[in-house]
């Protein structure tokens, strides 16, 4: 490549390039004068005066506890609770003796449903960044032989005008 002729002729002040980007962006952002200074929002009269009382009261509010009705047959609850506890214990032991639940044993549909119903707060770009592409065998798409009949069926259903396809008329 041809050597630049001016390389040694011009110099810049020390540290010129270090702060260049910031200075440029500051300068570009200076042209705000066409925008209004005020945003036009208002609040109800006396709003800020009452805010302290309202917020303080809420902060010290204790969650309401449930009122439990007392019944005459309270003594039978203990017996019922004991039977239920024994039953749950036996059932629990049986369940946990079975196979361990692993991530693989979850059905794909369940995982998809969970991802569908849960807001993970991720953009599609962020999700794409976390997917490991090594595990995707893109080659399969190209290597799999597609039945000619299926191709014709697909075209028949999805193409309105066969002329658009520029098919070779000899075939």
């Amino acid at each position: 490549m041809e050597e630049k002729k001016n390389d040694k002729a011009f110099k810049t002040p020390e540290g010129y390039f270090d702060g260049f980007k910031d200075r440029l962006l500051d300068k570009l952002a200076e042209g705000d004068s066409s925008l209004p200074d005020n945003d036009g929002f208002a609040v109800p009269e006396g709003y800020f005066d009452n805010l302290k009382e309202q917020t303080t009261a809420k902060a010290y509010e204790k969650p309401e506890s449930k009122v439990v009705q007392l019944h005459a047959y309270k003594k039978y609850y203990w017996a019922a609770a004991s039977v239920a506890a024994i039953f749950l214990l036996v059932l629990g032991l049986q369940i946990f003796q079975g196979e361990d639940i692993t991530f693989d044993s979850l059905a794909n549909t369940e995982i998809e449903d969970y991802l569908d119903a849960t807001d993970l707060g991720l953009s599609s770009y962020e999700i794409a960044e976390t997917v490991n592409l090594d595990e995707l065998d893109v080659q399969n798409i190209f290597e799999d032989q597609i039945n000619e009949e299926n191709i014709m069926d697909y075209l028949d259903e999805n193409i309105d005008d066969f002329d658009e396809l520029n098919l070779d008329t000899d075939e």
Binding site: K21, D22, L28, G40
Partner: protein
Amino acid sequence: MIAEETLVQQLKQKDSQARAFEVLIDTYKERLYWHIRRIVLDHDDADDVLQNTFIKVFKNIEGFKGDSKLYSWMYRIGTNEALTFLKTKQRKLGVSNDELQQRMAENLQADVYFEGDEIQLKLQKAIASLPEKQKLVFNMKYFEALKYEEISEILETSVGGLKASYHLAVKKIESYLKEEQD
């Protein structure tokens, strides 16, 4: 004005907590309100989010280690509360984020607590069209006059990135307003 460290200490101690919480509300209520209001736009929504923000601050003050300034921490809680509020609203209405933002800006026209003129309404619509981060940075820099260093601590983003976001936001708003004029 009471020093921030003293206020944090008082908030963590049972005997001085109540009084310190009142001081905290008095000191930050307006700044936080306007910050939240510019995200959710509606006064009643801003009021809900603001109260929840203070309650969260109050209940989580034990976990505040002082790695950042108290107001940055509160701003961060307020921002997250406001964004979560909008996400919930979006899900309830079954609309996209863009759609919700546009609806919110449209509703300003009939809002009794919006006294802006035509250009201010257009400005809000322009802001509503910005991506979330650019919107936050624009509001914090332009209306709240926060320094880049302060915004950087609140949003946990580099100053360079913030300057770029602000610059982009201003350009987009200007071209939006120009298009509307033509």
